[in-house]
């Protein structure tokens, strides 16, 4: 603890360190807000800059980029309906709905406050009980992993708005799209029709950019009056203190979900935000209001998404295993400085571990300051642009973002094609979210399910292992709950007569 205090004081009193972190935060905010520029890519771009720096300085810069870019994914999600990262996919639902109602300013403020809250909770858990969480994360084998993704899918199908049948149909299309590409278990190409472009499968970002962004731009052209603005003005910025306090439990739940799921290597923020959002909808007394633009639909996933940052650092710091592709770049930075993260570093160099913790904390604070005092005002100005400029700009950003994910021209066509599909789905009243989650979660479920069966031989393993048993049972309750309730009430009604 005293190491941490020393490191914090040392960094705060060093203008060069603060300046570096600030630079990282600004870069992260700009890159993260651009659709298609992922946090991983932002960090990789900054990587060569760190070659000549001291290790603490490099971590200051990189953690600044890391946290700010994860937060900034919510900006394009709320304002433009484009999730720049899988972690912002759920924020689109209520965030953009709020913006459309003229509450963009508030939605952005909720997202920022929830992100900072989630970031701090994730940080506290990282600093306080990282080894405990790491030990729990290691207990997540393939069966647990398959079960948690099944749980996520069950919750998403429950959480998506509109009628269940259409939601399930959309989810199934997503699962089918997720099948395309090389199969992880056998490496056999599936549904690639002999073309090389499809061998890598559909990347979620171009798909999501098309399904949400392009489709939204098309519908907005239809919706908005000629020459006018796309959306109502941004409205007030600061939510009322009373409503903020009401969101506290949701933010706390989201933060814990984010930290724990973020700590499971390779689980990623997409699973965390899906679980956080669906859990809130399940707990809510007015679940039908989710998706119509309520703060809770922004707060829970944003808290979860940013708590994942601290979560992902847990296996990296304690075990030397990257929690996701972003922490993989961070490990790369440490390696290039001759430091090999792992149990040895964690136990023998507490001063150095403390500098990393301090850097993350400063990154969270600076993100809050920069985004809160400058970012929110600047970002919201985007909506004041005339409709033709904004929508053309959005479409251009969409295509650029789709291309830049893999430097692939094919992905531009994916974005255009899925934009057309998304527009059609909107007109038909089919929810898009289950489709997007089918694409993200389907391959993870399949891979882990098949590996489970390879290792354990049969399905009973899901019921004999406590974590997977619990998750499967809750999933079944979520899916079958309404049916059971209906059956019980009819039974009771019959008894009475």
């Amino acid at each position: 603890m005293s190491y941490l205090a020393d490191a914090l004081i040392g960094a705060v009193t060093d203008p060069a360190m603060l300046g570096l972190c600030l630079f990282g935060v600004v870069v992260g905010l700009v890159f993260g807000a651009l659709p298609g520029v992922s946090s991983t890519m932002s960090l990789a771009v900054m990587l060569p800059l760190t070659f000549g720096m001291s290790t603490p300085a490099a971590m200051m810069l990189m953690l600044g980029v890391f946290f700010a870019s994860v937060y900034a994914g919510s900006v394009s999600a709320i304002l433009l309906n484009i999730p720049g990262t899988p972690g912002a996919m759920v924020t689109v639902l209520d965030g953009n709905a709020m913006a459309r109602k003229g509450r963009a300013g508030e939605a952005m403020a909720y997202a920022l406050i929830a992100s900072l809250f989630g970031g701090v909770v994730g940080w506290l858990l990282l600093v306080g009980i990282a080894p405990v969480i790491a030990a729990y994360a290691l207990r997540f084998g393939s069966p647990e992993y398959a079960a948690v993704v099944f749980f996520g899918l069950a919750l998403v199908s429950y959480a998506s708005s509109g009628d269940t049948l259409r939601g399930l149909a959309a989810g199934t299309i997503g699962l089918l799209l997720g099948v395309v590409g090389r199969d992880v278990v056998t490496d056999v190409p599936r549904f690639t029709f002999g073309t090389a472009d499809l061998q890598g499968g559909f990347d979620i970002i171009p798909l999501a950019i098309g399904l949400f962004g392009v489709a939204e731009a098309l519908s907005a052209m239809e919706r908005a009056p000629r020459g006018g603005r796309v959306q109502a003005p941004t409205g007030r910025l600061m939510p009322k203190a009373r409503t903020l306090i009401a969101e506290l439990p949701a933010a706390l739940r989201g933060s814990f979900i984010g930290t724990f799921i973020g700590a499971i290597p390779a689980a990623g923020s997409a699973v965390a935000v899906a679980v956080a959002y669906a859990l809130e909808k399940r707990l809510s007394r007015t679940p039908e209001r989710f998706g119509t633009g309520i703060p809770r639909g922004v707060v829970a996933p944003e808290a979860a998404n940013n708590a994942c940052v601290g979560g992902a650092l847990i296996p990296m710091m304690t075990l030397g295993i990257p929690g996701d592709s972003i922490t993989a770049v961070l490990i790369g930075v440490l390696l290039l400085h001759g430091l090999r993260p792992g149990p040895g570093l964690f136990e023998n160099q507490p001063e150095f571990i403390a500098t990393i913790y301090a850097a993350l904390f400063i990154a969270i604070v600076l993100t809050g300051l920069v985004a809160g005092f400058i970012g929110l005002r600047v970002f919201n100005k985007v909506l004041l642009l005339p409709r033709r400029l904004l929508l053309t700009g959005v479409l251009m950003l969409c295509l650029l973002g789709a291309f830049s994910v893999r430097n692939s021209a094919f992905d531009i066509w994916v974005a255009v094609g899925s934009g057309a599909v998304g527009y059609g789905l909107i007109r038909l009243g089919v929810p898009i979210l289950p489709l997007a989650f089918g694409v993200v979660l389907g391959p993870i479920l399949e891979e882990n399910l098949r590996r489970t069966l390879m290792i354990h031989g049969d399905w009973s393993v899901f019921l004999t292992r406590p974590i997977s048993f619990t998750l499967v049972m809750i999933s079944l309750l979520v899916l079958g709950g309404p049916l059971i309730v209906r059956a019980l009430t009819t039974l009771a009604a019959r008894r009475r007569t």
């Binding site: 991983t40 890519m41 960090l43 990789a44 771009v45 990587l47 060569p48 070659f51 290691l138 207990r139 997540f140 084998g141 393939s142 090389r182 199969d183 992880v184 278990v185 056998t186 490496d187 190409p189 690639t192 002999g194 073309t195 090389a196 472009d197 061998q199 890598g200 990347d203 290597p265 390779a266 296996p315 075990l319 030397g320 295993i321 990257p322 592709s325 972003i326 993989a328 770049v329 790369g332 390696l335 290039l336 400085h337 001759g338 090999r340 993260p341 792992g342 149990p343 040895g344 570093l345 994910v405 893999r406 430097n407 692939s408 891979e447 590996r451 390879m454 290792i455």
Partner: protein, 319 residues
């Protein structure tokens, strides 16, 4: 190593006026990475690119092409204009893909410029398994074929090939469980989901030092510089050499003089003490070889791996 450096320096001095005389390179060079940012292929590329830029006096810009298991980037590389302004990093998976994919990029579509270094496979077991030595492991695998779970890449990936080469060479059968890359494989090993793994040494070194896993042997002709106390397979009486490697290539058809300039500059960068120290610190073995020696090494790998792929039933595009 020192001799190579000397030769390279001499070559460089000879090449410098040549480079100026021809005006190559006089513009930015694109460095293609066929994997996403942040991985080993990307990190090594950026390490070299930065110094190559200083060496040649022109910007060297790293571009990541993700997709099709690395094939998308290789296709960009092979399809680029062979003017020396597009080069990139080649890994062992691209050699394997020649035989396992539709529309592959073949080795003869590429011009090999230099070797970067090997990344030998290693056999690691969880600390609480009964396999104290490599011999005990091999005996157990022979007694109960298919009982030992071995975590590795999906079929065709580097650590899958390492495991397969070991199986063929030692005549044993493992139950190979595929994971999407090294990090999930190591996680599964630490969590006890698999008994063993065939990932390279740097991936398991820290866990080995902490006593969570045991590295039983390195599949190389020499010990690994990061773990000099761990014997090779050969030292323990088992003749297994396997693992990943990296080399720098361009599209086939680069004019001879330009290819030479690039090759010499690369060898000079790779031989510099400063670069070797940085790369070693990051866990990468460096073996700077010129174009011809590099091509020979790649062809040797090609010859070694083809029968293994055939044996595993992975060949869809036979020779």
């Amino acid at each position: 190593m020192r001799r190579t450096a000397l030769v390279a320096t001499a070559a460089l001095i000879a090449a410098a006026p040549l480079a100026q005389a021809q005006g190559f390179p006089d513009g930015p060079i694109t460095w293609v990475v066929n994997w996403p940012a942040g991985g080993g292929q990307d990190t090594t590329s950026r390490l070299v690119a930065e110094r190559l830029s200083a060496e040649l006096g022109v910007p060297v810009v790293v571009e990541n092409y993700d997709g099709a298991g690395g094939l998308a980037g290789m296709r960009v590389l092979a399809g680029a204009k062979p003017d020396g302004y597009t080069i990139g990093m080649l890994g062992s998976s691209s050699i394997i893909q020649q035989y396992t994919t539709d529309e592959p990029v073949m080795l003869d579509q590429l011009a090999v410029l230099s070797f970067f270094g090997p990344d030998p496979g290693a056999l690691t077991v969880k600390a609480d398994t009964p396999y104290e030595t490599l011999e005990a492991f091999v005996m157990a695998a022979k007694e109960q074929p298919g009982d030992i779970l071995n975590g590795n890449d999906p079929p065709g990936g580097a650590s899958y090939i390492s495991a397969s080469i070991m199986e063929v060479a030692l005549d044993l059968t493992l139950n190979k469980i595929p994971y999407k890359g090294y990090a999930p494989t190591v996680t599964a090993l630490l969590g006890g989901e698999v008994h063993s793994a065939t990932v390279p040494v740097p991936q398991v070194l820290e866990a080995h030092k902490a006593g969570d896993v045991r590295i039983l042997g390195v599949m190389a002709s020499e010990r690994h510089f990061l773990a000099p106390d761990i014997p090779t397979f050969a030292e323990q009486g088992f003749n297994v050499v396997a693992g990943d490697f990296r080399a720098v290539v361009g599209p086939a058809g680069i004019p001879q003089d330009r290819a030479e300039i690039l090759s010499q500059a690369l060898v000079a960068v790779l031989s510099s003490a400063e670069f070797v120290a940085a790369a070693n610190a990051a866990g990468y073995m460096i073996e700077p070889l010129g174009a011809e020696a590099a091509l020979a090494r790649i062809k040797a790998f090609d010859a070694q791996v083809y029968p293994v792929l055939e044996d595993a039933g992975l060949v869809t595009n036979p020779r």
